[in-house]
């Protein structure tokens, strides 16, 4: 009986999580090499060469890394600070309601709302005009469609902070951190020390898989950068979709090459982080 359960579990896991991805990846790979596709003319490295030789592709890859690292770092910092400082208020009171609201908005709508808030003609610019901070629409700084990805990072941070708070808050409970804190305190640790030496390391280590997962989500995000990003550099998904769906059908295989490359980068990164993570957890 137990054996059947085990087998079933693995079968479900392989069928639902692994198989579709391998199949999809295989399709993308075959497409990028000219092995399939309506307009394909047989095997060629040409699409890969075109992609890898394009400086815009590398810029876009670097830009995507930058945006995800920046967003995750900002969001982790803010969420940790808020959870540690306001543990009590997060149990009850209107703060406990307000901060979890953003979980109910999809990225495209967040992108839209951020645009209406942060653009030169947006709400913040209007408020700053009325209180005399800026004297015209043009004087307001470039926060969306800007080369530094400010709009994209703000949107992702805005979406991630509540999610991270929920996660840290639950981990705090499930790991029995309050108790650990008391122990540390009774051994003579100051409040700040407890936070830095006990809470933060434990929370970060336990949250690590989901933080990485979220980083990947930002790395591959499409909607927020589509609405809030500049035309150059573009985030990697925006670039891939442009090649997939714009005017030149000859670029479709390139889009798949970009996707395959993208997956390779992500897996390489995951493997690297896992090794490190394993090493780090041994030390603790």
């Amino acid at each position: 009986m137990k054996r059947i359960w085990q087998l079933l579990s693995w079968a479900v896991f392989l069928a639902l999580a692994v198989l579709p991805l391998l199949a999809g990846w295989g399709y993308a790979g075959a497409y990028s090499l000219g092995l399939t596709g309506l307009l394909s003319k047989g095997f060629t490295w040409g699409y890969w060469q075109a992609v890898l030789a394009d400086p815009a592709f590398w810029r876009s890859l670097g830009f995507s890394v930058y945006v995800s690292v920046a967003s995750i770092t900002l969001a982790t910092g803010m969420a940790l600070a808020a959870v540690l400082a306001w543990r009590r208020e997060l149990h009850r009171g209107w703060l406990s309601y307000a901060v979890y609201l953003p979980l109910t908005l999809p990225a495209l709508v967040v992108g839209f709302a951020m645009f209406q808030l942060l653009a030169k003609g947006g709400l913040l610019s209007r408020i700053s005009f009325h209180i005399g901070l800026t004297d015209s629409l043009v004087a307001f700084p470039d926060w969306v469609n800007d080369p530094y990805g400010i709009g994209i990072i703000v949107a992702h941070t805005w979406m991630a902070v509540p999610f991270f708070m929920l996660m840290f808050f639950n981990l705090f409970q499930s790991e029995g951190l309050a108790l650990l804190g008391q122990v540390a305190r009774s051994l003579g640790a100051a409040g700040r020390q407890v936070a830095w030496k006990v809470y933060v390391p434990v929370l970060l280590r336990r949250a690590y898989p989901l933080l990485v997962l979220y980083g990947l989500f930002v790395f591959g995000s499409y909607e927020a950068p589509l609405l809030l990003g500049a035309q150059s550099p573009q985030m990697i998904s925006v670039l891939a979709i442009r090649k997939l769906q714009r005017f030149n059908l000859m670029e479709v295989p390139q889009a798949y090459a970009v996707s395959v490359f993208f997956v390779v980068v992500v897996i390489g990164f995951l493997v690297l982080m896992r090794r490190r993570g394993a090493a780090a957890s041994l030390k603790i």
């Binding site: 790979g29 075959a30 815009a56 500049a230």
Partner: protein, 404 residues
């Protein structure tokens, strides 16, 4: 697992040999037989659904009308040109014999792509009884992006590009290239164009103007001409670039965000491929009432949008009956009303029965755009599709990603 990966390419190859559908060809039947065959069937139409007025026209008028008169169950799904192309490509690759779609709303670049992959059924438009009211020789109908239509798509509406401006901010808008250069230098940050279809149409009309107007670039793609004139176009763009929105370092992704920037007052100009969109947007309370549309001295591109039937559609007869209804004077008349949609008719008025001619003439005009007849004199034909592909590519490489 490794073996599985190895299998995938073979698997794909095995499944991708397309087999043509053996369904009876409705173009060979009489119209009565077509209607008979269509009765009781379902027609799946895919079209852009981003405008509530257009959706209301389809849902509240067309869907009940074809159900009542022809017993056709019309379903509408949302999807733009690129989604349509992607869908049909994937279907053909998967070796499907029946497409999920029966009727498509397409325009030039989608037509070009669908012909490239041989995704369209045809010729079928000659069989439509309402085709008698269409002037098939009219170059704005017979040719889509310089490609002969040859009965593979049926015209549905006709529009011309218009430049839109806020008359409260810009009392005297520039009317040609030189005037625009002078205007943007005096008003930096207020003008731009988008990276998608509309912006490229704008660049195309600049290219036509640079090449010498009207017929200078008509016919198939000419590499020599393109190289010569596009170089001059980029010189011009580089000259005005520092004075464009965000100093020309980036451009709006598509026309919709550009409209939003115009509505909030960040831009003083926007543009539309549909000359009556300005009325529609003022009516919806998006654009201020001081908004106006106009056409440059050198002209703007006019084109038609069409209805197509996928080659693998399982209900071509039903699709043809719906298309025929959409082409009827009644449906076309209603569609041209600015309160309903404001899409220009493709019917030749002089071919219509007298009473319909009268009704079309009495249609309330647009309030914020010039009259169609006025614009018609400055209508430029579409260029061969390669021009747009090259312009899109070069614009990105030389201007947007360019270092200067």
């Amino acid at each position: 697992m490794r073996y599985f990966l190895l299998c995938i390419p073979f698997f794909l190859q095995a499944c991708s040999s397309p087999s043509p559908a053996p369904a009876p060809d409705p173009a060979a039947l009489s119209w009565e037989e077509v209607e008979q065959q269509a009765k009781g069937g379902a027609v799946q139409m895919m079209m852009w659904q981003g405008d509530p007025l257009i959706n209301a026209y389809m849902n509240d008028y067309v869907v009940p009308a074809v159900a009542d008169r022809y017993g056709i169950d019309l379903h509408i799904a949302g999807g733009q040109g690129n989604i349509i192309v992607q869908q049909l490509m994937a279907e053909m690759q998967a070796g499907k014999t029946d497409s999920e779609l029966d009727l498509l709303w397409i325009n030039g670049e989608t037509f070009y792509q669908l012909r490239q992959i041989d995704g369209l059924y045809g010729p079928w438009t000659e069989a439509l009884p309402n085709g008698q009211y269409v002037d098939w020789k009219n170059p704005f109908i017979a040719r889509d992006f310089q490609q002969p239509v040859q009965g593979f798509e049926c015209p549905w509406g006709n529009v011309q590009m218009a430049i839109i401006y806020n008359s409260a901010a810009v009392p005297e808008p520039p009317r040609d290239r030189e005037a625009l250069a002078g205007w943007v230098k005096a008003h930096p940050g207020r003008f731009t164009w988008d990276m998608h279809f509309t912006g490229l149409t704008f660049l195309k009309s600049l290219l036509i103007d640079i090449a010498g107007g009207q017929e200078a670039l008509s016919g198939p793609f000419d590499e020599e001409k393109y190289r010569m004139y596009s170089e001059r176009l980029w010189t011009y763009v580089r000259e005005i670039r520092p004075y464009l929105w965000k100093e020309g370092k980036t451009f709006p992704e598509a026309v919709a965000p550009m409209h939003q920037l115009f509505a909030s007052g960040e831009l003083w100009f926007t543009m539309s491929n549909n000359d009556s969109e300005v009325d529609n947007k003022v009516l919806q309370g998006l654009f201020p009432e001081t908004t106006r549309a106009y056409v440059w001295e050198s002209g703007t591109i006019q084109n038609s949008h069409y209805l197509g039937i996928p080659r693998l559609s399982a209900n071509k007869a039903g699709a043809m009956v719906v298309a025929n209804f959409l082409l009827s004077p009644e449906a076309q008349y209603r569609k041209q009303d600015p309160q309903v949609w404001g899409d220009g008719t493709v019917l030749a008025l002089d071919r219509l029965p007298e009473e319909w001619q009268q009704r079309f003439r009495e249609l309330p005009g647009r309030k914020y755009a010039p009259r169609r007849e006025e614009m018609q004199q400055r209508a430029l034909p579409e260029l061969a599709p390669e021009y747009m592909i090259r312009l899109a590519d070069d614009f990105r490489k030389k201007i947007v990603e360019g270092s200067e």
